[in-house]
């Protein structure tokens, strides 16, 4: 026997009767409970080695008023400040010591504090999470030290021109609430006080507006924790103002040779029947490239605009849903000299769809893309936690992925055409940034 050749290595006979090793016990179903004080608890025990727990709160920049703009942004950055139960140092070191992580994610309407760690250390990180969300102290000197971070955070975010355009878009489209910027305005940096932060937390972090969601943890554990610790502030807190759509335009003239422009009308609310129609329309028109660095040939918008110009450009449909409003439209990135042609060509494409220029095959393709996108986003525990949390906040229930897929399938081609008609006929808002010499105004479109 030669010991050095793979060819004569002794063959191992695989035993056909070896017991099948299960990687983990079957994942249990998602359990969801609503406590009498309004807190929603949802948990999915999937026996994974890591646990991810999030506290979702129905608050965000829309609940600010003009006197306390930027509070939500600072709150986002303040998650590691001293709390009643643990000092800032201890929170940081404690979470590091068990290999966990604490992060905050905030949109205009919701804030999500989430921790993830190995299953065995859930108690430790849960304690820090609860401290941070229910008992922050906002010591004046810590808050003062934090204010320069607002500038850094903003600078990093605004490196991407889209962030600026979307902030302006919301400011142009709404009169209040949703018009508030996600990032602290410059004049407020250094002026946000500890009292304002306290006030914001007292008025917004109430039990009936919170949801405690866990993946990889038992429902009974979460329920116990919630009943014991998350019971501090009851009531519904300060109500937010109802978002009023106004339809305006904001143009930011910079020297940039690439013009970013977004044109939208009022879209659908989260969970409304039109929401799915708008989502499907978004994918019919083209919602971003599916092949990385590809030429996005299948998108209707891209095809339409490609006929109008040979310069590099990018165009996609823009769709966002909030609890009492939504925005739907197009987002274009074009060279400054032919920004006008690109925008007009994109709008003409949507007009074509509104006049019925969409086949059933197109709609089916779009539905498949939308379903795939949704299902892929809930595959990761982060995406799943986000999805469960958001839905718990809005309705206190959970729609399983198969039901979501069914709802998407039930959108008819006529619904898609109607959604497009709504866009064409609705009052539009526009935000543009770049060298705007050749960019048309709203009334020229």
């Amino acid at each position: 026997k030669r010991f050095y050749s793979l060819k004569v290595a002794p063959k191992v006979a695989s035993s056909a009767t070896a017991a099948k090793v299960k990687l983990s016990p079957e994942s249990q179903d998602l359990e969801i409970t609503k406590l009498p004080n309004g807190l929603v608890i949802a948990s999915l025990e999937n026996f994974s080695p890591t646990s991810r727990i999030g506290v979702f709160i129905k608050t965000g920049s829309r609940y600010e008023t003009t006197s306390n703009l930027g509070t939500a942004h600072l709150l986002r950055l303040a998650s590691n400040l001293t709390t009643k139960g643990a000092s800032s140092f201890r929170i940081t070191r404690g979470i590091e010591a068990v290999g966990g992580s604490l992060s905050v994610h905030a949109t205009r309407e919701k804030m999500a504090y989430s921790v993830e760690c190995l299953r065995d250390y859930v108690d430790t990180v849960m304690e820090y999470l609860l401290n941070v969300t229910t008992a922050p102290e906002f010591r004046p000197w810590e808050v003062a030290e934090l204010q320069p971070k607002l500038k850094v955070d903003k600078a990093v975010a605004f490196q991407n021109p889209q962030v600026g355009v979307l902030e302006n878009l919301h400011a142009a489209a709404y009169k209040n609430a949703l018009a508030n910027p996600l990032y602290c305005p410059d004049y407020r940096v250094g002026k946000i006080t500890s009292e304002q932060l306290h006030h914001f937390v007292q008025n917004n972090f109430t039990s009936s507006r919170m949801a405690l969601v866990g993946i990889g943890i038992k429902h009974s554990t979460l329920k116990q924790v919630a009943e014991q610790f998350l019971n501090i502030r009851s009531g519904s807190g300060a109500p937010g103002a109802k978002a009023v759509y106004r339809g305006g335009e904001i143009r930011k003239q910079t020297g940039d040779s690439l013009v970013h422009a977004a044109i939208v009308t009022e879209g659908a609310l989260v969970g409304s029947p039109e929401a799915n129609a708008f989502s499907v329309l978004q994918y019919v028109l083209g919602a971003g490239p599916l092949v990385k660095r590809g030429s996005n040939v299948t998108s209707k918008l891209t095809q339409g605009v490609a006929k109008a110009t040979s310069q590099p450009f990018d165009v996609s449909a823009f769709n966002v849903n909030y609890s009492d409003s939504g925005l739907f439209g197009i987002y274009t990135i074009s060279q400054a000299p032919n920004a006008g042609e690109v925008i007009k060509a994109a709008l003409n494409q949507v007009k074509a769809v509104a006049q019925g220029g969409v086949t059933d095959a197109d709609v089916t393709t779009a539905k498949n893309q939308l379903k795939a996108n949704y299902l892929m986003s809930v595959e990761t525990s982060k995406g799943l936690l986000n999805e469960i949390g958001s839905e718990s906040l809005v309705s206190g229930t959970h729609t399983s992925p198969s039901v979501v897929a069914q709802k998407i399938d039930s959108v008819a081609t006529a619904d898609v055409v109607n959604a497009a008609k709504k866009f064409i006929s609705g009052k539009k808002s526009m935000a543009a940034a770049g060298d705007l010499g050749n960019t048309p105004f709203l009334d020229e479109l």
Partner: protein
């Protein structure tokens, strides 16, 4: 109870004998400024810090003139607030926590 009152009287006698109240200073104005005290001073609310600066300035002025305040303006033992104490305690607690963690 009697023992307690004795200690109080001793404390009051010592306070007056120490003499800084004749310059209009409070106990916490006279603390030696080591790192902990410096950090606690950074955390003082503005009005307390301004009052402290005023008292120290006034005491320096008196000391250079080799004078003391008139007797009715001396700081009384009962009125001497240990304003820095809570901040100082917190700073020391945090430092000890950090040292305990780093030893682990």
């Amino acid at each position: 109870a009697g023992g307690g009152r004795m200690i109080d009287r001793l404390r009051k006698w010592y306070y007056n004998a120490a003499g800084f109240n004749k310059l209009g200073l409070m106990r916490d104005d006279t603390l030696h400024e080591d790192d902990d005290v410096k950090e606690a001073l950074k955390r003082l609310p503005e009005h307390l810090y301004n009052e402290r600066v005023f008292r120290i300035k006034r005491a320096l002025d008196l000391s250079l003139k080799h004078q003391i305040l008139p007797k009715d303006q001396w700081v009384k033992y009962e009125e001497d607030h240990h304003y820095l104490e809570p901040y100082l305690k917190e700073v020391i607690r945090e430092r000890q926590e950090r040292e305990a963690w780093n030893k682990k």
